[in-house]
Symmetry: C2
Subunit: 221 residues, 2 copies
């Protein structure tokens, strides 16, 4: 199902889809290949192309990833200072209500993750912890995989698929690496992208903070 959207449509309607995923409809590997092929047109530092996309269809492995994800999500949600710790929030920018909605939606995704037919784990050949004090190196490494990851999600949207950018399984990245045979010392996982056909395709742009709050000219503020 190719939606044939315009560039601006895809860029403004690729939402974090957590609940409107069709958990019963299989996703053809051919469509995932198309999206990944498009993703590879993204940039990498020095054109090194150290990216790898690990696509998990296997049900047992998805169940195991979902378990790690739920542990990560529980830990993340309860961490002091978490945006999802709503006990004393003064709602800077997005309202408290919006956080509650996102948190509920994220709970739903966590509960149903093993039923999402495809889990995509983008990886980069580099181990980031060693780059501790070097923001230039970190920016170059993440900049060599995250644009392609986003391209994958945009291409997926154009094919009727929904995705959601998640990172909480990385709290147990080493366990995930063992599960999937990823050489942890040489390769960093950067996200887990649940991918499924969406229930309906009529997504709209999100409400965001006003442009003038975040767009600065010539100097900060």
């Amino acid at each position: 199902m190719h939606l044939e959207l315009t560039a601006d449509e895809v860029l403004t309607t690729t939402r974090a889809v957590r609940k409107r995923l069709d958990l019963d409809k299989p996703v053809e590997p051919e469509v995932i290949r198309e999206c990944t092929d498009i993703a590879l047109q993204g940039p990498t530092g020095g054109n090194t192309q150290g990216w790898r996309f690990l696509v998990v269809y296997n049900a047992d492995k998805r169940a195991a990833l979902a378990e790690l994800y739920r542990r990560g999500w529980a830990r993340y949600k309860q961490a002091p200072g978490s945006v999802f710790d709503l006990s004393d929030r003064e709602a800077p920018g997005p309202s408290r209500q919006q956080f509650v909605r996102v948190a509920r939606s994220a709970d739903y995704l966590a509960e149903h993750l093993e039923r999402v037919p495809v889990h995509v784990i983008p990886c980069i050949k580099s181990r980031v912890e060693g780059m501790a004090a070097n923001s230039a190196a970190l920016a170059s490494v993440y900049g060599s995989i995250l644009p392609a990851t986003w391209s994958f999600m945009l291409a997926a949207r154009n094919r009727g698929l929904g995705t959601c950018w998640t990172t909480v399984h990385l709290l147990y990245e080493q366990e995930a690496a063992e599960l999937l045979g990823i050489p942890y010392e040489e390769v960093t996982q950067v996200a887990l992208i649940p991918t499924a056909y969406t229930l309906g395709t009529d997504f709209k742009a999100a409400q965001r903070r006003p442009l003038d709050d975040i767009l600065y000219t010539d100097s900060w503020g």
Copy 2:
């Protein structure tokens, strides 16, 4: 100039433009606003929207950034193990010839950077060095600004603008922060995106490593 490209066209033809930039044609702030507005539809962890886009039009500041950039580029190129150290390259994947071409093109950009009419510096409210040993936190922070940065570049392409993802000025990030009044301790710069109208708009997809080299199913390799 709105090119009205399809999503797949934009995703496959947004190249790193270093030489085909029109250095004499001003870029209207209104177009930059449009691209940034579209960028804000990208994801952020927990919808925190800690992103800021600092857009530099001022010629003196662009000249100062270009100077930092040239220092960074010289250091990066000569670093041991740099992909641009071509003295002993066995050309894994992309050929030596391709690296030479990219290096020359990057030299050109470095030499002309102050003449590129707009420098966009995407920032995220977080200081990454403190997250040293936590790849989950790093992925979340970079994942809250790099997708939007790439959206900016894709939206720019759809408007006849060329961009290039660069990070070498970050080797002197603190100096750049001082120049632009960015609160370095609280905010991380993640890139510098030179932005200008392109000379012609007929960009084609890049040649990349074969899909089967980088797309793995159910386990690594």
